[in-house]
C-alpha cells in the first residue's frame, strides 16, 4: 500500500475523473459510430 499525501491523492482523483469523462465520451462516440456502420452496411 502506497502512502499518498493529501495533495497527491487530490491530483490522482482529478486525473481519474478527467480520464473517466474522456472515456465516457469516447464510448458514446463509438456507440454512435457502430450504429452508423450497421446502417451503412445494410445499404
Amino acid at each position: 500500500m502506497v502512502d499518498y499525501t493529501p495533495e497527491q491523492l487530490a491530483e490522482i482523483r482529478r486525473k481519474q475523473k478527467s480520464r473517466s469523462i474522456v472515456m465516457a465520451l469516447i464510448l458514446g462516440a463509438f456507440v454512435a459510430l457502430f450504429y452508423a456502420i450497421s446502417i451503412a452496411k445494410m445499404l
Binding site: 497527491q8 490522482i12 486525473k15 480520464r19 459510430l33 456502420i37 446502417i39 451503412a40
Partner: protein, 301 residues
C-alpha cells in the same frame, strides 16, 4: 532489449493527455492525411461512414504503433532532449499501462477495420503496425544505421490501406505512392539527424551521421532524392494521374531537389548553422502533403 534503468517510477495516475501523447499526434496528422488521400484517390467510392471508419482505424493503428514504440524505447527517450518529456521517461505513466494501451488499441483498430471495412485493409493495417513495432523499433533502430531506410516502409502503408479500404484490392498508383514515401523517408530523417546528431549520439542510436559522418549522410541524402523524385513524377507518364498532378509534382520536386542538392554540397559541421538541413526537413513534410494533395486534386478535377 529495452532497459528500465533510466526510468523514474510513475508516482501518479496518467492523465488522458498522456495517453494522447503516447500516440504521437503530430506523426498521426501525416499518416491520416496520406491514408485519406489513398482512399479518395481510389477509382471506387466508399460509403462516407465506412470511409471515416477506415481513416479512424488507420489513425488508431498508427497511434497504437506509436504507443508501443514509446513503451519499448522509454530508456532511449529519457536520454534525448526532444523526447525526455514524453509520459514514460517523465514518470507520468508506468510501462505496463503503455503496453496494454498499445496492444489494446492496435488489436481494436485491426478488428474494427476487418469487420466494418474489409479484410485486406485490416491485414495491411496489422502488417504496418507489426512492421513499425517489431522490424523498425525492436529489430533495426538500435542495430543499424539503415534503420530508417527499411523502417520507412512502415510510414508508407497508410496510402495503401486507404486505397484497399475503398477498392478491396491494391493497384499500381498506391504502390507508386508506397514507393514514394519509402524513398522519401531517408532524406527526410537524415536531414533531421544531421542537425540533432548529438541527441541521437547521446542515446546511442546508430543514425547515419553518428556512424558514417556528415559527408556520407549528405551524399546519401542526394542519392535517395533521385529515385524519390522519379517515384513521385512517374505516375504521370505512366498514365496513372493527369496533368495537374504531373505539373504540380514537377514544381514541388524541383524545389525538393534543389534543397537536397544544397544539403549535399554543404560542408557545414556546426549544427547551430545547419539552416539548409532544417529547410530540407521542413519542406520535405510540405512536399509529401503537397504530392498527396495533388493526387486527390487531380482525381477530383
Amino acid at each position: 532489449m529495452a532497459s528500465k534503468a533510466y526510468l523514474p517510477a510513475a508516482t501518479v495516475t496518467a492523465d488522458w493527455r498522456d495517453f494522447l501523447a503516447l500516440t504521437k499526434p503530430r506523426v498521426l496528422t501525416l499518416v491520416v492525411f496520406t491514408g485519406l488521400c489513398g482512399l479518395l484517390a481510389a477509382p471506387q467510392s466508399i460509403n462516407p461512414v465506412l470511409g471515416f471508419t477506415a481513416v479512424l482505424c488507420i489513425a488508431l493503428g498508427a497511434g497504437a504503433a506509436g504507443a508501443l514504440n514509446q513503451w519499448y524505447e522509454a530508456d532511449l527517450d529519457a536520454l534525448m532532449r526532444r523526447t525526455a518529456d514524453r509520459p514514460l521517461p517523465a514518470g507520468r505513466m508506468d510501462r505496463q499501462t503503455a503496453l496494454h494501451f498499445g496492444v489494446g488499441l492496435g488489436a481494436f483498430s485491426v478488428i474494427l477495420m476487418g469487420l466494418a471495412v474489409n479484410v485486406l485493409a485490416a491485414a495491411i493495417l496489422a502488417v504496418s503496425i507489426l512492421f513499425y513495432v517489431v522490424v523498425y523499433t525492436v529489430w533495426l533502430k538500435r542495430r543499424t544505421s539503415q534503420n530508417i531506410v527499411i523502417g520507412g516502409a512502415a510510414g508508407a502503408f497508410p496510402a495503401l490501406i486507404g486505397w484497399a479500404a475503398a477498392t478491396g484490392h491494391v493497384g499500381a498508383l498506391p504502390l507508386m505512392l508506397f514507393a514514394l514515401v519509402f524513398l522519401w523517408t531517408p532524406p527526410h530523417f537524415w536531414a533531421l539527424a544531421l542537425y540533432i546528431n548529438s541527441d541521437y549520439s547521446r542515446a546511442g542510436v546508430p543514425m547515419l551521421p553518428a556512424v558514417a559522418g556528415n559527408r556520407v549522410t549528405r551524399i546519401q541524402i542526394m542519392l535517395y532524392t533521385v529515385p524519390m523524385l522519379v517515384a513521385a513524377i512517374a505516375p504521370w507518364p505512366l498514365g496513372l494521374t493527369g496533368k495537374i498532378y504531373g505539373v504540380g509534382t514537377m514544381l514541388l520536386s524541383i524545389i525538393f531537389g534543389l534543397l537536397a542538392l544544397r544539403v549535399g554540397l554543404s560542408r557545414e559541421d556546426d549544427q547551430a548553422r545547419m539552416k539548409p538541413e532544417r529547410q530540407l526537413f521542413g519542406f520535405s513534410i510540405l512536399y509529401l502533403f503537397g504530392v498527396f494533395g495533388l493526387v486527390v486534386l487531380d482525381k477530383v478535377i
